[in-house]
Amino acid sequence: MEMIEVRNLKKEYRIAKKSTGMMGSLKHLIMPQYETLEAVKGISFRINEGESAAFLGSNGAGKSTTIKMLTGIMKPSDGTVRIMGKDPFLNRIENARRIGVVFGQKSQLWWDIPVIESFRLLKNIYGIPEEQYNRNMEKFGEILGLHDFLSQPARKLSLGQRVRADLAASLLHEPPILFLDEPTIGVDVAAKQKIYEFLRETNREKKTTILLTSHDMKDLESICQRLIILEKGKILFDDTIDKLLKKYGGEMSLEEIIIRLFEYDVLV
């Protein structure tokens, strides 16, 4: 079954064009000028149930923008997105029930109240049955090591602890699709291994479809089979990681290939 279908997706931003200095700022105040920036320039791809795919691209390639459109919080400028057959922006609430999202840079945990309260709130929001909630809390708590800090408010957590708690929060309602935008920021090596293991297991057991963006090659190799390389808003490569490695005769590591790719902008 097709979980994610993207056709000719585009996103344009209007950004203020300011000249430098005081005169420039004054000029902008009186006569603001804008320019359009094409962040995503018509991309298409499909992801099937149980697949785990990764978005890879240099800074500003359009990865986060694409994820935001897929999750239904941002309206595409053009093209269509279908999540399990439905437009996510027009059916935001219905779509939100079927996806789990982690933005490594942001946190959905409540800043000032104990982490456990955030989990309890999620239980009520998604209407998670008691039995499922307890089972997941037990399991996630063990794999991700949450038990030590569940009674602390989120503001007292370290970055790594926070990311782990956020990951658990996004999977509590067992969504069929999981979006991860840089989910291992600030996580130590041991905890990273736990996260990989956890995600692989979720992907295998529940057939959860995973779409991930990251700058960490280890993330990609450990979690995903498929690789979608975005560069300047276009897809450069879309196939399995093995195929990419083979293409280069198996001599270079994934990291070396990617560095070359970003430098020359094309697949050599």
Binding site: Y13, L37, I93, K106, N124
Partner: protein, 262 residues
């Protein structure tokens, strides 16, 4: 419904999280109420009545208006606006529920604590100054209904203003503008009956009076039973109109979400 009620709990816990902020806030409230009381007292030493308002009425009005104004006070709106500017709002939109409904119940939870404390504090001061002689059971019931509806009106207005933050980065300016508008036109500072001719007519066709002036007049008894009913009906109409406006504006505003990067 259960999912929205869960937000009351979290809002309440959030309100409790900062004990010292809460206590200093309460203290500031108390001082402000007392200052306002003495300002009016000095005005009425030189004048027996201002547009029909006597000192007898005014010394009730000051405290009741203060109580009404303490619900949904400024802090919440700033935090919503900040979430919009910083882009954290996308996390709220990823939840399978109405964004506005979520905000309302969350604020209700946080405001609950603040309101309860103000109620006890200002209520005791009111009783110390006025005693029991002006109280009436019927009017108190109508007052509570009207107070709750006033919260609805205020929430709708705050929601609309917070949506403006999708278009500007200046959340502080938006919040301040809203605050000044509501404080002046709702009767928080001066009873609307004291406004001169044209201004009085303008205020009548604005929704702000429903926030403070309406519940106050009902409680104090300057409104007759019939006037009270009409005013309460008017509050409901305003909630419907402003609610619809918020929905329409929300549809437009959520379409422009464009956080670049992050």
């Amino acid at each position: 419904m259960k999912k929205y009620l869960a937000y009351i709990r979290c809002g309440f816990l959030e309100g409790c999280a900062y004990r010292s902020t809460f206590i200093t806030g309460m203290l500031a409230n108390f001082i402000q109420a007392v200052v306002l009381y003495y300002v009016w007292k000095s005005i009425f030493t030189y004048q027996d009545a201002v547009n029909g308002y006597t000192w007898e009425i005014m010394k009730q009005y000051v405290f009741v208006a203060f109580l009404c104004n303490s619900v949904f006070s400024m802090g919440f709106e700033m935090s919503i606006a900040e979430r919009i500017v910083k882009g954290d709002i996308i996390l709220d939109l990823l939840k399978p529920l109405s964004y506005r409904g979520m905000l309302f119940f969350r604020m209700l939870g946080t405001a609950g604590l603040e309101f309860a404390a103000t109620f006890v504090l200002i209520g005791s001061v009111y009783l110390a100054v006025n005693g029991l002689r002006y109280l009436s059971g019927m009017r108190t019931v109508l007052f509570l209904i009207s107070l709750f509806l006033g919260m609805g009106v205020k929430f709708c207005i705050q929601y609309i203003f917070s949506l403006l933050c999708f278009y500007t980065d200046n959340s502080y300016g938006v919040t301040k503008a809203r605050e000044i508008l509501t404080n002046f036109f709702s009767g928080a500072l001066i009873p609307l009956a004291m406004f001169p001719g044209v201004l009085r007519d303008v205020v009548n066709i604005l929704p702000f009076q429903g926030i403070i002036y309406t519940p106050c007049c009902i409680f104090i008894g300057t409104f007759s039973a019939r006037e009270s009913m009409i005013s309460i009906l008017l509050q409901i109409v305003w909630i419907a109109v402003l609610g619809l406006l918020g929905t329409l504006l929300g549809k437009k505003a959520f379409g422009v979400i464009s956080m670049y990067g992050g």
